[in-house]
Point group: C2
């Protein structure tokens, strides 16, 4: 896939998921209007849509009907958006800037932000369960497991417990496998489930997903350390200011960068033999590795 | 159903759902232990389990296998428990006592309470979607809709927006139809869906559920006004102290009581012709109407 093709493939995918999200979110003039306005604010008009694109890429590989991929892609982005709204709360990471805009609790208020997150999570499962996909129940179970206490929410708990403690690399890795990795990994699984893949290919895709999840976080840590707030659209340098353990604080910039390259190679390796159909997955791996740094 | 039979039917139902909840919640020694401990604290060892019992009663009426009712009953109680944890947060209703114990954010902390609610919601959908019930996807969609922005979460938003405003009875009713009513109503629907009922009986059960939902709230308002904190296990007199619109503040105690009797009759009416199999539903209606006041 040529660089220009990758770019237009991603742009087209983002446009499709954005339109689908817009359609599945209640209109801002439906009561309670304040809640629906805030839900739309939290979800629409921003974000790289990496989880949706991973779902699309895995689905394309599995020969899924593109229409069938919209419900899981939306569900993934809704869960991701809910987690950002709650993670930004004053009692959590206490952040005021997200995707270049004030966070939900700043733009609206804290109570609304709690309810926005809660309602986005419900909506994610409503969209997926109501999709009519033959595999919908199993996909809901997969997504719920990835989002829950042994997945993403558990990872956020580990992150809070790690604050101001001097955690080692193994603990940091475990934290991110849950906090960021679980949802990215299930994005690949849901895409593959929407089409048809054999158990061998599914296992390869899952290894790919796991490594992409870690890669994503290592790059995030590098960006936080190296880029400015305007470029990121969220508060830069926050990890260091909060004395947070990151791949950069543990490894230094150069070693973290080398680790990112290693994870990229590790993500590409299991899908190396999967032919042209896996090209979007490869392009996404490179995109995750190379974004802005 | 004699009074003694009702009592033992309810006690047996509570015991069954309690055991099922205990089994589906991660053990407190599984990492992240603090989160799992707090989730168990929030869910187990308390509560009237009205939503689970309504699901059991509707399921019994519909001839459902009792084993099949456990997943929806647990999912309902998990969603209910999550909503209590979030509603009690300082930025929401700011309550320190629930089911006779300190609320989750008091016993643990605010960030943990946010994550407990989030993870309980995920777990609810995981349990229901993973139940293997043939209708699981449709049940997830029903429950997610009832929990979301046009159901329970939307009702909580309306409740917050109503604070300190002089809302009328129609607005109060609309608020409670969403905040309390949606989940109680879907409890009946999920129970009925687990067995087999014709469209006519389902419509009757749904009317029953809707009225039980309102009845529950009117009684709650009466209890808040008339009972003490020790009896309730949550802070009594809070509605008046917070200048909150309630059925009691709008109608006065006597008229609110009369309205409760009217709603009880209104709940019993649609299921009057449904024979002996509907007896647990009738008993539950009387229980909801008569608890403690």
């Amino acid at each position: 896939m040529a660089a220009r093709d990758v770019h237009s493939w991603m742009a087209a995918g983002r446009e499709r998921v954005e339109a689908a999200l817009d359609a599945c979110l209640p209109a801002a003039n439906i009561a309670p209007t304040r809640l629906h306005e805030a839900m739309r604010y939290a979800v629409l008009g921003g974000g790289k849509r990496v989880r949706a694109l991973l779902c699309f890429a895995a689905g394309e590989f599995a020969g899924a009907d593109p229409e069938r991929l919209l419900a899981p892609a939306c569900a993934l982005e809704l869960v991701h958006a809910y987690s950002l709204v709650h993670d930004d709360l004053p009692c959590m990471d206490d952040d005021v800037l997200r995707r270049g805009k004030p966070t939900v609790h700043v733009e609206f208020d804290e109570a609304t932000a709690v309810l926005v997150g809660d309602a986005l999570q419900s909506l994610a499962f409503c969209v997926l369960a109501g999709s009519g996909l033959p595999d919908a129940a199993a996909m809901v179970a997969d997504l719920a497991r990835a989002a829950g206490s042994r997945g993403m929410a558990g990872g956020q708990m580990l992150d809070l417990l790690a604050a101001d403690r001097d955690i080692g690399l193994a603990e940091l890795e475990n934290l991110h496998i849950h906090k960021t990795g679980a949802l990215i990994r299930v994005a690949v699984v849901l895409g593959a489930r929407s089409g048809s893949v054999d158990a061998g290919a599914l296992a390869r895709l899952d290894r790919y997903g796991m490594r992409i999840g870690l890669l994503f976080q290592v790059v995030d840590d590098l960006l936080d350390a190296l880029e400015d707030t305007a470029t990121l659209g969220k508060t830069a340098g926050k990890d260091a200011a909060q004395n947070k353990a990151t791949y950069v604080s543990r490894l230094g910039v150069e070693t973290a960068r080398a680790y990112a390259h290693e994870l990229l190679a590790g993500a590409l390796e299991p899908i190396a033999g999967l032919g042209d159909a896996a090209e979007p997955l490869r392009a996404l791996a490179r995109f995750v590795a190379e974004r802005q740094f």
